[in-house]
């Protein structure tokens, strides 16, 4: 899948491109709005990451222009401003998601995956499976190696979030937002405590651990 990145800052542009390539995407990068528009009109992209502050054609104008020309690829807006009004303006122009700088790359990746999933109408799976860990979405049952676990609501939601992003780190902010709908950083270890509980249930009795902490980034569920 091919992704367009329109970002004028060379360093930020470079690390977004690197991260996307590492995640297995093909990436084109433009440094200004006009080039971005040109690329987006020539190539069908699975998604686009567009900075708001661009030289020449601004990010919002670019998105408006794309939507006017019936380019429907999902767009993530990057902005250095975090006010609610900016977010609303971005989403009204035709952006699909909004990230404030500085952002974590894992969050950017998770959001791109979510957008692509939504845009391509991927069929909702019945089960999420990683190795011997199975989460049955219909029965709301979790088993590992055939052994069933009884999880509390939040624990179940957290596991579902980690499984849907299996192999990719999930940040604390994403967990707070996804589970409690709180979009600011709580200062205590709300998330750590929950992850710890889930780990105690799922990983304690198994030699190969599945939930890993990446300090400073978040948590990742993966099998070696």
């Amino acid at each position: 899948m091919r992704i367009l990145v329109v970002e004028d800052d060379p360093k930020i542009g470079r690390f977004i491109v690197t991260a996307l390539k590492q995640a297995g995407f093909a990436v084109d990068r433009a440094e200004n709005g006009e080039d971005g528009l040109h690329l987006a009109l020539c190539t069908p992209y699975a998604a686009a990451v567009i900075d708001v502050m661009l030289p020449g054609l601004s990010g919002l104008d670019l998105i408006g222009e794309l939507r006017k020309r019936k380019v429907v690829s999902p767009v993530i807006i990057l902005s250095a401003r975090r006010s609610v009004d900016d977010r609303v303006a971005g989403l009204l122009t035709g952006g699909d998601d909004y990230l404030t700088k500085p952002f974590s790359l894992s969050e950017l990746l998770a959001r791109i995956h979510a957008l692509i999933r939504r845009a391509t109408n991927a069929t909702e799976p019945v089960r999420l499976i990683v190795n011997d860990l199975v989460l049955d979405l219909r029965a709301r049952e979790v088993t590992r190696g055939g052994r069933q676990f009884s999880l509390q609501a939040r624990e179940y939601s957290l596991l579902e979030l980690l499984l849907r992003n299996a192999g990719r780190p999930v940040s604390k902010t994403m967990i707070l937002e996804g589970l409690w709908d709180y979009n600011f950083s709580a200062q205590t270890n709300v998330v750590d405590v929950l992850v710890c509980r889930l780990r105690n249930k799922l990983d304690r009795d198994f030699p190969d651990k599945m939930i890993h902490t990446i300090r400073g980034v978040g948590y990742v569920l993966k099998h070696h």
Binding site: S83, P102, A153, R154, S157, L179, F184, Q187, R215
Partner: protein
């Protein structure tokens, strides 16, 4: 150069004010003078004409009584006694042919022959015969006598012209000082009335050039310009306080940022100097991310706080059920409190609706619960109580934590303040200032009570929704759904 000075002068309000007031004063005075002149001239003319009329009737009576010869005699007698002949007298035959004429002294040249050709005027109206050199006018009244002959009596206007000319000179003599006084008083008034404005301008100039302590002199006269000066000074004082506050905040922020940046730099430097492979580098990079997240949280918190304190925080008000909101916050901290074996209890009515910004109130509740769980030791309790009062709703959060000293209690609302005991805990000391700012932006209040080792109570009061008598339908309320 000179013309440009004139131009700037013309643009000043003072000059215009002076010009306007002197001009209106002068115009008014001149109008009064002209009116007086007109009145005088009219009354002099009326007096002359009355006397001509009287003379005409007197002579007509004498003519009828004593005929032309008798009239001539009595006229000769009269002028010998009086020594003056003030009136022009003419008697003509029925066909206007001259019979007798008496000409007064000080006689201007009149074309008297014209009188024979002019038609007679009615009694009571006057014919005007201008002098040959236009220096005077002869006003003549006519009367046809019973025998058909014509009697005419006239008087030259030169006498009253002299009086009017004299009066004119007097007026002119008075007008010059009046004009001078008018201009002077106008200028004086303008200068005096505009003095406070000029002082205001000077103060603004001084501030513009850096003298922030400059203030407008206040005279306490109680007029509009004085209250303007007072308001202006009040505004300057407020700005000074704000600037002082911002400078203080900036100092604190700079200080607070130095610590995480120093840690970040140190970690990176040690990793660079070490040659023990990637593990230590990974460790350092993790440190860097953690510290940069910390800096980001600090900046976000400070932005929120300064917006709330400056009153520019945009509140997205909607009907919010306070009880549900508190329950959500308790739910957020459930596992943390369970982990520390802290029991959390809520005492609340079914629902209490207020009009508020849901996200901001969540932030408030999360901050209060965060503090409570942080400072309450293992096995303690947190009691929350939502109670509806007359026009407010009160939310109390009581813990059995370490409490605060009176010194701490007096400073907890200050931004970036952390009590001695608080320093051991994570956090930045912004939470409570933010709580206070958000609650106050909603028109509410927050108070704290505490003593060392006997827990703390935080109590928030918020105004109830305006139509609080009945429950507000929960429109637009986002239901929480598990993923």
């Amino acid at each position: 150069m000179f013309s440009s000075t004139i131009k700037t002068l013309r643009q000043t309000t003072g000059f215009r004010l002076a010009l306007l007031s002197s001009a209106s004063f002068i115009v008014g005075t001149l109008f009064l003078f002209a009116f007086a002149y007109f009145l005088l001239s009219a009354s002099l003319q009326a007096r002359d004409r009355d006397s001509i009329d009287a003379r005409l009737r007197q002579l007509a009576a004498q003519y009828q009584a004593a005929d032309l010869a008798g009239l001539k005699r009595s006229l000769a007698l009269e002028s010998s006694i009086r020594k003056t002949k003030p009136y022009f007298i003419r008697i003509a035959g029925p066909s206007n042919a001259l019979v007798f004429m008496e000409i007064p002294d000080q006689w201007a040249e009149f074309d008297l022959a014209r009188l024979e050709r002019l038609p007679l005027t009615e009694l009571g109206s006057f014919m005007r015969l201008p002098a040959n050199d236009d220096s005077a006018v002869l006003e003549i009244a006519s009367l046809r006598l019973p025998d058909g002959s014509i009697l005419q009596v006239g008087k030259s206007t030169d006498e009253r012209d002299e009086i009017l000319a004299l009066f004119g000179w007097i007026l002119a003599g008075v007008a010059i000082p009046v004009v001078v006084i008018g201009i002077a008083s106008g200028a004086f008034l303008a200068v005096r009335a505009l003095r406070p404005i000029r002082e205001l301008i000077e103060t603004v100039r001084a501030i513009d050039s850096g003298a922030m302590t400059a203030r407008v002199p206040v005279r306490r006269t109680g007029d509009e310009l004085d209250s303007l000066a007072q308001l202006f000074n009040g505004m300057l004082n407020r700005i000074a306080v704000l600037i002082e506050g911002m400078r203080g905040a900036l100092d604190t922020v700079a200080h607070e940022l130095r610590t995480p940046i120093a840690r970040m730099r140190g970690a990176a430097e040690i990793a660079l100097q070490s040659d023990r492979g990637t593990d230590i580098a990974r460790e350092a990079l993790s440190d860097c991310i953690e510290e940069s997240d910390r800096i980001l949280r600090l900046l976000d918190g400070l932005m929120d706080l300064s917006e709330a304190e400056a009153g520019t925080l945009v509140l997205k008000r909607e009907p919010v059920d306070i009880v549900a909101l508190v329950e959500e916050a308790i739910d957020l901290y459930r596992y943390v409190s369970e982990e520390k074996a802290i029991s959390v209890a809520l005492e609340a009515p079914d629902r209490v609706w207020v009009t508020a910004d849901r996200g901001r109130l969540r932030q408030v509740m999360a901050n209060l619960l965060d503090n409570a769980t942080k400072y309450t030791p293992r096995g303690g309790r947190i009691d929350l109580k939502v109670s509806r009062e007359k026009s407010t709703v009160a939310i109390a959060v009581a813990d059995t934590g370490i409490g605060m000293t009176p010194q701490d209690l007096s400073r907890i609302w200050d931004r970036l303040y952390r009590g001695d005991r608080g320093r051991a805990q994570r956090g930045m000391g912004l939470g409570l200032s933010l709580v206070k700012a958000i609650v106050e932006a909603h028109g509410g209040q927050v108070v704290a009570a505490s003593a060392p080792d006997s827990g703390s109570v935080f109590r928030i009061t918020l105004p109830l929704a305006s139509d609080s008598g009945r429950p507000v339908p929960p429109t637009g309320r986002a239901e929480r759904t598990a993923i």
